[in-house]
Symmetry: C2
Subunit: 157 residues, 2 copies
DNA sequence: GTTGATGCAAACGATTTGCAACTGC
DNA sequence: GCAGTTGCAAATCGTTTGCATCAAC
């Protein structure tokens, strides 16, 4: 509809995307590709609406519902995670290296961090027989330095 | 409005509640007390709507908005946690002993489990200087045994 | 009596859905 | 050409809010 699809000069990470879609019997649409690309580049756990805004320049006719539908599809395919935040808006991230999340109780900011000690931890015995484990994740709640500073020094210093 | 408040024969955990409210300058209303009591007894991370239904017998005039408002207040006071689930409905739990959550990707069920190994783990160095830590929590995603069984043996056996 | 809390109804906002037109395969 | 996908608009549903009344202190 906008530009022709040049499947042959896909960079490696998009070839991987192509294969996943093909294996799942999903069509490789222009919209899906661009949404995935945008999510891959995003470092800030964007919401569906944020992604939609960012894609507006490249795909002016892209609808917000398609972004929602596509992100849900990605989640099902294991291409994206839906973050559990305390906001009403869900936020997404493409899968990259193993990391965890710090959530600021004040501003709602999500900060990624790595935690090798946690990643290496043996699963708790209490979970024996619970079923299959897909993913383990640590979430740390607190107040970020910026919010702390803002409260202690409302204006300056 | 319904029954008189007998502040003097409160069980210990409700006296604690009374003190927290008093310290925060909040009125000890009948509704707040009953919502807290119900949340304390609940073992299943009820949603605001579920709590409202359960309280209907005791407080027929209780409105759903009050449940929402009250749970938000409890969260602010540190009397309850809002769970981050993948459902649209938020779910709450009163604070009890330290535990973590297993979330089934299929049925959305939340299962509590203890994980002493995690609780004893040192915080990751990556978080140095991030701010103040309020709470750490582990979330494990997977498929519960019931959902596994249902998919392998759709009908019987 | 004063101040904050409640109940009601209406608003809000994120997300989902029905459907007809369209496009990748 | 067919099945799956999109865009549009409308619906859905959890949650929040304005406001007048009411209860706790």
């Amino acid at each position: 509809m906008t530009a022709p699809m040049d499947n042959d000069d896909f960079p490696p990470h998009l070839r991987h995307f192509e294969q996943i879609c093909k294996a799942a019997g999903l069509k490789l649409t222009h919209q899906r590709l661009e949404i995935y690309r945008e999510l891959l580049e995003a470092r800030d756990h964007p919401s569906a609406e944020t992604l939609h805004k960012r894609l507006d320049a490249r795909l002016p006719t892209l609808s917000l519902d398609t972004v929602y539908r596509t992100l849900t599809t990605f989640e099902r395919l294991g291409l994206a995670h839906r973050l559990e935040t305390r906001e009403s808006q869900a936020r997404f991230e493409a899968l990259s290296q193993r990391h965890h999340h710090f959530l600021c109780d004040r501003c709602g900011q999500v900060v990624d961090f790595t935690w090798p000690g946690f990643d290496m931890l043996a699963l708790p015995p209490a979970l024996t027989g619970i079923g299959t484990i897909h993913r383990t994740s640590a979430v740390i709640y607190g107040q970020c330095a910026a919010c702390l500073a803002r409260e202690q020094n409302p204006t300056t210093r």
